[in-house]
């Protein structure tokens, strides 16, 4: 296994410890619950926004805690939803008179942990509402009853509700905004290589030199189809077709376009993909009003990419443009 790791069982806590040491003034780390929270949270005048999920998707979500983004993240182990206790304790610690917003990606484990944690926290007097993110078009709702997965689109939900809550929005308003962003956001991902979870020490699946996996999620779970490796343009075109036709995004639409690296893809390649996607959207009469190129929601060291579109309106344009300060804002 070619990784920077000490004891694989300490992978997540050591990462969190590093984040905490790098951000002593702005973040607080609670080791018992894998909890990274804003040092100034909870605040009486603001809904606390919490996202949990498995680890291995960094910067999501522990590195996007900060002003205008999350108030706290409680990650589980690599690719495992956090234990219910973490959700409970995090919710209690972040409790404010304005309530707590849970953001979760639509996976069985996450939903269970947050359902149970919420029930117990509510019993202790915490007001909680939940927004579920499920933007992945690779999974068809109808066939598999667990529904679509939440993938890189969660960034836009976080950004929008994070901005709105800084501006004083209440819990209901945040749920409205979060649900709205989710409803106009679609993503599709693909992988050139598998990823290697530190505790497993070997790749989750094997891909031949001339193969790629279309429709992968962010947990190294294989995609829906294995295909012959194609060039950058063909890959973008396939992802774009799947995403555009799903909502659908139409001629005249103004969109945010995200080209998200899955962890092992250099940013040079992401810009090659961006250029193609931007031009193909222009050819369809769709304008890219905002763009995001980089790593937002990864799958450990997987070489791969996901493409996300968000249909913009005036409200979203202004929320996405709002300032944000996060742990990985390093320049």
């Amino acid at each position: 296994m070619k990784k920077f790791v000490n004891d694989p069982k300490r992978f997540v806590p050591e990462m969190l410890q590093g984040i905490a040491l790098a951000n002593p003034d702005t973040l607080r780390y609670v080791p018992d619950y894998n909890l990274i929270m804003r040092a100034d949270a909870p605040r009486d005048d603001k809904v606390s926004i919490v996202q949990g999920s498995g680890s291995g998707h960094e910067p999501a979500h522990v590195m996007v805690v900060g002003k205008g983004m999350l108030d706290a993240a409680c990650p589980g182990d690599v690719f495992s939803a956090p234990p219910m206790d973490y959700v409970l304790e995090t919710s209690k610690l972040l409790n404010t008179p304005k309530g707590v917003l849970h953001l979760i990606n639509n996976y069985t484990g996450d939903r269970m942990a947050f359902d149970m944690g919420r029930e117990l926290a509510e019993a202790e007097g915490v007001t909680i509402r939940t927004v579920v993110v499920d933007d992945d078009v690779a999974v068809k709702d109808s066939t598999y009853t667990v529904g679509r997965r939440g993938v890189a689109g969660n960034f836009f939900v976080i950004k929008a509700v994070g901005a709105a809550s800084e501006q004083g929005a209440d819990l209901d308003e945040l749920v409205r905004i979060g649900d709205k962003v989710n409803s106009v956001t679609r993503t599709m991902g693909m992988a050139l290589t598998s990823c290697t979870p530190p505790a497993k020490g070997s790749p989750l699946f094997e891909l031949g030199e001339d193969e790629m996996e279309m429709g992968v999620g962010i947990h190294g779970e294989p995609g829906r189809r294995r295909e012959k490796l194609a060039d950058a343009n063909a890959i973008v075109d396939e992802l774009l077709e799947a995403v555009v036709t799903d909502l659908p995004y139409e001629r005249g639409d103004n969109v945010a376009l995200m080209i998200n690296g899955l962890g092992g893809t250099p940013i040079s390649e992401l810009y090659i993909l961006y250029g193609r996607a931007h031009q193909q959207l222009a050819d369809r009469g769709i304008t890219v009003g905002r763009n995001y190129v980089g790593e937002y929601c990864t799958s450990l060291d997987m070489a791969g990419v996901s493409l996300t579109l968000v249909k913009l309106d005036d409200e979203l344009v202004s929320l996405f443009a709002a300032p944000a300060e996060i742990a990985i804002r390093t320049f």
Binding site: G76, G109, M112, V146, P197, A199, K200, G220, E221, R224
Partner: protein, 222 residues
């Protein structure tokens, strides 16, 4: 302590031991079409159960099982924490303040555990989950006991059923868990949770004859 409390301890201890011993195997099974964390999650949770084994509150069987459930939900993430935690919790609720457990009690506790898993997982037999091994195995156990079999024979039969049905998950399409996203591609692969149930059942049956021997954590040190 009643001998049948020791039997409960034995079963739980064997489950925990199996989870810890098979971390890699269970993880590899989950990696095929899932995300590979099943072995790791189970091992991390059940090793804490084993580490604190001697100190678990044994006032009654219900308390004992609920304490274990709390350790599981407190430490195991993913789908498995809530699923297995709920199972232990529900079994504990049925056991209540009993300090001895009859064969009928055991079947009732297992049935309650199953109902808990179904409710928590919104899942049922046929979804390619651990239920596909657990439900028929418990049915078989109950049937054998009802037909007058002794514990050993009933457990052997249940273990055999668990193994057969775990193998048969190959034919199913995953409808729950991370494996569900691969759709038809999950056909031909084993469900990790179902195999874990089969291995646990086999180890419970295999050691049943000696189960009266007390299981202490000191015995576990390598």
């Amino acid at each position: 302590m009643d001998e049948s409390f020791a039997a409960v301890e034995y079963v739980v201890h064997t489950i925990a031991r199996t989870a810890v011993d098979n971390e890699t195997y269970f993880g590899d099974l989950d990696a095929v079409v899932g995300d590979g964390d099943f072995g790791y999650s189970m091992a991390r949770g059940f090793e804490i159960v084993l580490a604190g084994w001697d100190d678990i509150d044994r006032s009654d069987v219900g308390t004992f099982l609920k304490k274990i459930a709390l350790t599981i939900t407190g430490r195991i993430g993913g789908t498995s924490g809530p699923i297995w935690g709920t199972a232990f919790l529900r079994a504990g609720s049925v056991a209540g303040d009993r300090t001895a457990v009859t064969a009928d009690d055991a079947v009732a506790m297992l049935r309650a555990a199953i109902e808990g898993i179904k409710a928590r997982g919104q899942s049922d037999v046929g979804d390619k989950t651990l239920l596909d091994a657990l439900v028929p195995a418990v049915d078989r156990l109950a049937a054998e006991l009802a037909a007058g079999a002794d514990g050993q024979r009933a457990l052997d039969a249940a273990a055999m059923t668990a193994r057969e049905r775990a193998e048969a998950t190959r034919e199913l399409i995953a409808k729950r868990g991370r494996a569900a996203y691969t759709g038809e591609r999950s056909i031909g692969t084993l469900d990790a949770g179902a195999v874990a149930v089969a291995v646990m059942a086999e180890r419970v049956a295999g050691g049943w004859a000696d189960h009266a021997t007390p299981h202490t954590s000191s015995e576990e040190a390598p």
